[in-house]
Subunit: 169 residues, 2 copies
């Protein structure tokens, strides 16, 4: 309607342009408001999802630990009844259960055969030895990693080589 009116006189072009720009402006404002609302909702959903996700990852693992706890309690029962063989079997069962679970969860033992690796190992001691200098000769505590991350370095003794032997000998 307004368009038809304005085409009748000279002012037509500017008014037409104004109407077009007003329309554009209103469309952008509308899109902006809708996007803002969408973004807000998204943010809220993400906050909920993240809590949920963390809770679920956690729940799954806790759930898997329940049978380990069961086996452990049965082993304790055997201990209180002085059933040594049953206790020992029970402990083996618990160990296998927990070790398997942790492997499934991605836990990997840090390898300790070969040269000392400062990224995954901690040298607590260096000793003269016939092994090549700088190689691991004893593991005091196992190390573990999960994916790329070292959760605990292996605590090791490394060789000082034969020169160390001669010095101490």
């Amino acid at each position: 309607m307004t368009d038809e009116e304005v085409t009748q006189h000279e002012a037509a072009e500017p008014v037409d342009e104004l109407a077009a720009v007003v329309r554009e402006r209103d469309e952008y404002l509308d899109a902006l408001q809708r996007l803002k609302a969408e973004f807000d909702n998204y943010r809220k959903r993400v906050a909920r999802d993240q809590q949920e996700l963390a809770a679920r990852a956690h729940e799954r693992l806790v759930r898997e630990l329940i049978p380990v706890l069961d086996d452990l309690e049965r082993a304790l029962e055997a201990a209180s009844l002085h059933e040594e063989a049953k206790l020992e079997d029970g402990v083996r069962l618990v160990h296998r259960g927990l070790a398997d679970l942790l492997v499934r969860e991605g836990l990997v033992e840090v390898p300790t055969d070969g040269a000392f690796d400062p990224h995954s190992q901690e040298a607590l001691l260096a000793q003269p030895s016939e092994a090549d200098e700088g190689t691991v000769i004893q593991v005091l505590q196992k190390g573990y990693r999960l994916g790329d991350r070292v959760l605990r370095p292996a605590r090791v003794v490394i060789s000082q080589g034969l020169s160390g032997l001669e010095t101490s000998g």
Copy 2:
């Protein structure tokens, strides 16, 4: 500057209005584009964060299980050396370690004193008993919940009451 010029003639108002609307339109378009970019970045970051978050929740718990595994391995060592007392102590240590960890993680044992609760308990058997009808008289397997969720119902025997006793007697 433009404002001063346009106030001099009749065309002033429409041109002025057009300029203002154009400015508004451009501002909204600009804001819209910036918000779109921000939203996109946010979405990408969220995707990364969620993976990270799940991995971290998981990592923390796996990390806490390593000392339990250590204690278990020491207990196994004691077993292989036939050090029974040490083995038993070791198993107690492992049990306390794992049970404490699970309590810290929010695991709660399903209570079984009192009336049977179908939401957290599973009745495997009903037996005549002097206990009130419908109460739990024996726990065959402990149940656990985490927050609101029952991870495993307690498996129980419930009382049929004295009428049950008379029938069977």
